[in-house]
């Protein structure tokens, strides 16, 4: 008991900077092991002091940064999912029929999502999955105000639409002087915005409060919807993927070392060993039977650029040469006559008449 307390004391920076994190840690430990009641007590006292600062108990616990980031990632995934489903409806139409109205389509889908998420339950769909919701900072109320919801829609739907549409709009109104100035200003504003959102992200890395610029502007912040349950990370998929990647890499590395032709030839020799009578034919070649000229001993087709290796049989140039290159101990598959040397692969000559 004493040991653990002193151990926690060893983390001065933790106690200072991420006090809330410690509370969570301790309370979780407490849940695992109820005997450590004094730690629980300590957690409780710390927790209550924290509550005084922020207001309304467990709801205002600082949400982990990763949960917020995960929720926004889920949001964009869901949007993509919705969009691809919608586009599948139009898959039999003329291609590119949706391209003209893509910004409007996106805006409409976002509006729909907004209506059924932010406007009704006060959380985006991703946040819902991560057991989070938006709460407003200033008014101390756990839920979003009406105005905040509308502003959220304006920023998220209107601004994104303008961003996606701006190229078309600016090119169509470019001949008017006043408009040109507006577009120039907007373009510069967009650049500034990208810098601002980067800075915002860097600040978010430290204080973990406003993930996006619009959240900071509206003063809304992710909170736990219900008391946070224990978060479990599953490693199964990752481990399986790593393992299979390792296997695949190993195989890709190993396979080029394996001479498959050689193995195949070896097996062929062992399994379909030609009978002694056939092998006896390998003597001096006086004259081949006519049918032998018509068939390659390897591929069984009409020989292309016919060659022989000293036995009766005829090969395509490619068939015998490639086999010999891959396997220097290559023998004729029909009569086991060895090639031995490249110079033994000779063009066929035959008498006419």
């Amino acid at each position: 008991m004493h040991e653990t307390n002193s151990f926690i004391g060893q983390f001065p920076f933790l106690v200072k900077t991420r006090r809330l994190f410690m509370i969570k840690l301790l309370s979780l430990e407490g849940a695992v092991n109820k005997q450590r009641s004094s730690i629980n007590k300590m957690a409780a006292t710390k927790g209550s002091s924290e509550n005084k600062e922020t207001g309304t108990g467990s709801r205002n616990q600082v949400v982990l940064r990763v949960s917020q980031l995960d929720s926004s990632q889920l949001d964009s995934e869901l949007h993509q999912l919705l969009k691809s489903q919608f586009q599948r409806i139009f898959q039999f139409f003329k291609p590119g029929v949706l391209a003209y109205i893509e910004p409007e389509l996106n805006a409409a889908l976002r509006l729909l999502t907004w209506q059924f998420s932010i406007n009704t339950i006060g959380a985006t769909l991703g946040q819902r999955i991560m057991n989070l919701k938006y709460g407003s900072e200033a008014s101390m109320t756990p839920d979003l105000g009406h105005r905040q919801r509308l502003l959220y829609a304006c920023i998220l739907i209107g601004a994104k639409w303008l961003q996606e549409r701006s190229a078309d709009l600016s090119s169509s109104t470019n001949h008017i002087e006043a408009f040109r100035k507006i577009w120039k200003a907007l373009y510069f504003f967009e650049k500034l915005l990208s810098v601002a959102s980067l800075v915002n992200f860097l600040v978010f890395l430290q204080d973990g409060r406003y993930q996006f610029l619009h959240e900071r502007l509206l003063g809304i912040r992710a909170q736990f919807a219900e008391k946070q349950s224990i978060r479990q990370v599953s490693f199964e998929f990752m481990t399986r993927e790593l393992l299979w990647h390792g296997f695949a890499e190993f195989l890709f590395f190993l396979l080029p070392f394996v001479n498959f032709r050689r193995i195949r030839n070896f097996l062929q020799q062992k399994l379909f060993r030609p009978s002694p009578s056939q092998r006896a034919e390998t003597g001096a070649i006086v004259k081949r039977d006519r049918s032998l000229y018509k068939e390659c001993a390897v591929c069984g087709e009409w020989p292309t650029i016919p060659r022989h290796i000293g036995c009766h049989h005829v090969f395509c140039y490619y068939c015998v040469q490639s086999n010999f290159l891959a396997d220097p101990s290559y023998t004729c598959p029909l009569c086991s006559h060895p090639v031995d040397d490249v110079t033994n692969i000779q063009p066929i000559t035959c008498d006419v008449g």
């Binding site: 653990t4 151990f7 060893q10 983390f11 001065p12 920076f13 933790l14 200072k16 900077t17 991420r18 994190f21 840690l25 979780l28 430990e29 695992v32 982990l64 940064r65 990763v66 980031l69 650049k191 990208s194 810098v195 959102s197 980067l198 992200f201 860097l202 890395l205 430290q206 224990i230 978060r231 479990q232 990370v233 599953s234 490693f235 199964e236 990752m238 481990t239 790593l242 393992l243 390792g246 296997f247 890499e249 190993f250 590395f253 190993l254 070392f257 390659c296 390897v298 591929c299 087709e301 292309t304 650029i305 395509c316 140039y317 490619y318 068939c319 490639s322």
Partner: protein, 300 residues
């Protein structure tokens, strides 16, 4: 005991997560640089920007005394070699600098050595043999760094303490803040992975040593093929479509006919057919042995 050392799955997962967000930071830095200073400036300072992104990410998390996002995700905590305290600020600073900057600096150094050898001072001070010897060492050094990293990863799979060389050098361990029930059962598969990579490394080392022994022969062979290629490109100019290979778009050499009657270079079409045995123009399927080399066909 309350805290256990973190095992491989947690460390890898946290590393993946960190990589993801560091990459996000890198790409947004690149976007900003491109929109303000133009693509050319960005291309010039690309690598430096990446280092800056990493330093920003780990500087604002690790150096500042927070968990990184990945560590937060899997609930692990950095501790120093005593495993009783959080690493000191100096140690954390050293870790981040080693992690973010050392690959970049090493890369620059290895790129700089050949330039240095060509400079006036080196020419005056060092004999040609010594300079050649040093120049030969550079690719070997590159290889050695890569092999070292892979050995380190293999070791991590087997022993599971330090995922990065920088972590080993600064002696930063990880403790698990909360026990993960599934993680301990994964250990055998990581052992398997570790042994796999160890065997792969040893075999590839042996193979490269074997190749280095017969290296002279190979080098000569490859030299001749290069000169041949160069000659072909030098001929250059506009090649009549009649004499052109549809695969390399140069003058056809060693014309070869497919069964469907299309003509290509022997090298081009055999290479093509080793991945997909069909005519690249009309997609007729055939076997490699059906290719006919046209003798006495190419005009000289």
């Amino acid at each position: 005991m309350m805290f256990q050392p973190a095992s491989q799955p947690e460390i890898i997962r946290s590393n993946q997560k960190d990589q993801f967000y560091a990459n996000f930071l890198r790409s947004s830095l690149a976007d900003i640089c491109q929109s303000f200073a133009g693509a050319r400036v960005w291309a010039r300072w690309r690598k430096e920007l990446d280092v800056l992104g990493d330093v920003l990410y780990f500087g604002l998390t690790t150096i500042a005394g927070y968990q990184t996002l990945g560590e937060e995700y899997v609930n692990i905590l950095q501790v120093d070699p005593t495993r009783r305290a959080v690493p000191s600020a100096k140690r954390r600073l050293a870790l981040v600098l080693l992690y973010a900057c050392s690959p970049y600096l090493l890369d620059r150094l290895l790129a700089y050595i050949p330039k240095l050898l060509e400079s006036e001072r080196a020419r005056a001070g060092l004999s040609p043999e010594v300079r050649q010897r040093i120049a030969q060492c550079v690719p070997i050094l590159r290889q050695a760094v890569m092999i070292l990293q892979r050995t380190h990863i293999a070791l991590f799979y087997l022993r599971g303490v330090f995922y990065h060389v920088a972590k080993r050098m600064t002696g930063i361990h990880y403790l698990m803040v909360r026990r993960n029930l599934s993680a301990s059962s994964m250990r055998p598969s990581f052992h398997l992975l570790g042994w796999l990579s160890v065997t792969q490394l040893t075999v590839s080392l042996l193979y490269s040593l074997y190749k280095m022994r017969r290296g002279t022969v190979d080098a000569e062979e490859s030299d001749t093929s290069v000169t041949e290629d160069e000659r072909a490109s030098e001929e250059g100019g506009i090649v009549e479509p009649r004499l052109r290979c549809a695969l390399c778009l140069e003058r056809r050499r060693n014309s070869t006919a497919t069964p469907c009657g299309h003509l290509f270079c022997w090298h081009c079409i055999t290479e093509w057919c080793s991945t997909k045995a069909e005519c690249p123009l009309c997609r007729e399927k055939f076997q490699l042995s059906r290719l006919i080399y046209l003798q006495n066909f190419d005009p000289r």
